[in-house]
Symmetry: C3
Subunit: 206 residues, 3 copies
């Protein structure tokens, strides 16, 4: 098991942020309170659980209850935010939380995959899956195509974050976790604020 203070901090941030984003989606979809909690927790824990399955260990999410409190905190924050903000699902606060969760989970994925002895490729792959997995699973539960396939610059920031982690670690420098979070969150927020977009492949082929 990873016992690393950087891991503990980014993991907590990611869980709160993604639980908030997921709970918002559940509220918008018209679920009852129980469903909102489930959607929030699936968004928060889906990516990390997939990561732990891929690196072949018992997921943290079923090993300890302590992480659960971070997920529930995110759900509570979402309910509070939904009370004071109209259209909270698209509010900048929600978009910022989503970018923060993406960066945090790209970092925890990089840390766990490095710890498991994977290659540079494997570290980037796990970072990306960890970052986008929870949201993709939530979209499947909500019976729609995962956001990551439709939103153009969503997985790419996580790929770049994982590569930053590998580069900083490979150069023997400190601060790989910070670099990963900064690159992921920075490119994601840039893409959102600039409205970066790619045309459908079909159009390019026509």
């Amino acid at each position: 098991m990873v016992v690393d203070s950087a891991f503990a901090v980014v993991n907590a941030v990611g869980l709160v942020a993604f639980a908030l984003v997921g709970a918002m989606k559940g509220i918008r979809a018209g679920f009852d309170p129980f469903g909102v909690v489930v959607v929030g927790l699936v968004t928060a824990f889906g990516g990390g659980t997939t990561r732990d399955i891929l690196v072949d260990r018992i997921p943290l999410s079923v090993q300890t209850a302590s992480n659960l409190s971070y997920g529930l905190l995110g759900v509570v924050l979402a309910v509070g935010l939904a009370l004071v903000i109209s259209d909270p699902d698209r509010h900048p606060a929600t978009q910022f939380a989503d970018a923060a969760g993406l960066g945090a989970f790209a970092a925890t994925g990089s840390i766990v995959a490095t710890d498991a002895g994977l290659s540079a490729f494997g570290v980037v792959a796990i970072a990306t899956i960890n970052a986008v997995g929870g949201g993709a699973l939530t979209d499947l539960l909500l019976d729609r195509s995962p956001f990551v396939l439709l939103e153009d610059i969503y997985a790419i920031p996580a790929v770049l974050g994982g590569m930053s982690y590998v580069a900083v670690t490979g150069l023997g420098l400190r601060g790989a976790t910070v670099a990963c979070v900064a690159v992921t969150v920075g490119t994601r927020l840039l893409a959102v604020s600039r409205g970066w977009d790619l045309p459908p492949m079909k159009e390019l082929l026509a």
Copy 2:
């Protein structure tokens, strides 16, 4: 591998019950005979396979053919029931089979997670995932939001069943499996018969 006679019995009951429920969904969805068998088997084996992946072992479902016969028995029962009953998908027999499967798999999940050395939290988490996982996977295959998110009191009985298992085991008493099944099936049937329901979160916030 768990070799426990209580496990063997509840596992067989759960497989027959959930295969019946799943096959009913497949018949209703208009699948051909092969699709009905697949949907029945996914419902029966989905939860336990997820459980075994989470506790990091090769799933029972791919280790031995003997369980397959229970799944096929459930599918045959569903076809028989569909011949003699109109609207079999909502018939009390189907709802009872669903509650029985929920209870049986909450119990097998509790047994396997305890066996794998998980904490009390992990046991309840695995019990719940084992109980609701097969049905949720089936709903994804049928291209709709999982029942567990829309039906209010469906996962909660499994949570209570897992907690009963932990409590009885923790007190050093016998009968944890029976307690888990009884609490899960009892609360689920109560919720169905009383029509217990929660309002959408959106309404509570408005």
Copy 3:
């Protein structure tokens, strides 16, 4: 890890073929270039990753980058094909690639499951899951019921291929991989060309 030249060849063929088929689905669904790549790679790597999770090892897909090039080659072929062919999603070339991928992955599944020490039942189960898993996952991402449930004779060729592998190996003969591929591809192409079909269960019960 399996290091077997037959494995390497069929694995490469399967990855190229299924990435092509998946990318075609993504183009047809109107995704942007990034989405097309993701759908192609999920189709190519989904089955093998599920297989590796089930036999309880770190998936090849996250261990090495070398396989990625086969997946990307398949995506490039799909884009090229889409440029020169109208309605490429249903073109015989795509249907042949799909059958080839089905046969190749039934074979890699059989090899890995045999290597992991599973029973004859387990080998056939893993062969089938490996063969149909990537396509099923893709259909879930595209928000529709998996093809394997609606297309009647799709999983059955993989089941027959896995059984051929087990039979040839069990008789102590060589050529199990070739037999598996030949039986799977042959029965699948026969089913497609003859338009073999099963009526819905509902109709049979009416």
